[in-house]
Symmetry: C2
Subunit: 188 residues, 2 copies
């Protein structure tokens, strides 16, 4: 919980009282590697904070498993397109390592927004940061080669290469695993 408080403070400082209100609508989850957090087809009604571990959001395209997003500890895990539209998601969330997660009930959080604008502001800023990351990723996918994208990932999150299978990294980068393997071979 202390970790969550710290995470919040980087975006917007709220009172201890406000924090406790948020605390009251959370539950603690502990998942084993490969367990599913949210299933395809369900509407996102929970916002997760990953205290420890590693998660990914993925979906199926023509039977292929495509990693849409990788989430490291100390980050939120949210199927944004489902939460914001209140629609079923074609995406699922699973953890890739044993993980400790704080689950925040989205509906109760919206209720907190009504009584406490500071909480609404906090989450607005959290999602704004995630929005910016998404925009930067577009630029990378739009006009960087697969090799450049791989190098960018290594530079930004070197630990990811060690913790996530190359299969998932490949689809995250928008290429096949064979192609990624080829790129890695050239690098050495």
């Amino acid at each position: 919980m202390n970790q969550l408080k710290k995470y919040f403070d980087d975006f917007h400082v709220i009172s201890q009282d406000s924090f406790e209100k948020i605390e009251k609508i959370t539950t603690q989850l502990n998942l084993k590697k490969k367990e599913e957090l949210q299933a395809i087809g369900k509407t996102c009604k929970t916002i997760y904070f990953l205290e420890k571990g590693l998660a990914r959001i993925y979906y199926l395209k023509d039977g292929n498993d495509i990693t849409d997003n990788l989430i490291l500890e100390n980050n939120m895990i949210v199927r944004v397109e489902s939460l914001f539209r209140n629609q079923p998601s074609r995406k699922a969330i699973e953890v890739l390592e044993d993980s400790e997660i704080i689950a925040i009930d989205a509906q109760k959080l919206m209720n907190l927004y009504d009584e406490n604008p500071q909480i609404e502001r906090l989450f607005r800023k959290i999602f704004e940061a995630s929005h910016v990351e998404t925009i930067n990723r577009i630029e990378s996918l739009q006009f960087h080669s697969a090799e450049e994208r791989y190098k960018e990932l290594i530079e930004k999150h070197p630990e990811v290469i060690k913790r996530v299978s190359l299969k998932h990294i490949a689809s995250y980068l928008g290429i096949t695993q064979v192609s990624l393997s080829r790129i890695r071979a050239i690098q050495n």
Copy 2:
């Protein structure tokens, strides 16, 4: 202005009084085709609403002009990565047709947030919708072929093909204009 009110209502209904507060921090801009709205290197301090016309956000990569985003009338034009981080943007905004624009002062808007949470909520929802669009675009760039992306654009915004030069559409889709021309040739 009435148009802006209508646009707002689709996201979150605010009181007439609140709307008038927003109105007070706006200015009207009329730009001729090809005129620049914001320059590369400037920090985004204004949120624009495009009442009439057509705009694009672009940047330069290795001397090439790359269209990051196309904005049709009745939409917001914002360099999100600059506004949310309060950092200079590598991107510029220009209009591709004679355009009528309402400019909203971002700093004054933040001040309105403080005194009126409903206004903050309105803009939160507006940007959430834009966030979702960005996420969907990632999916398209990540695993759809250039041809699929072109077809998706035609289906979603057929008018864009007629109003925007293929040069800009090509870079928006993440391909060269020669490649786009080839795809179009096969289609017929």
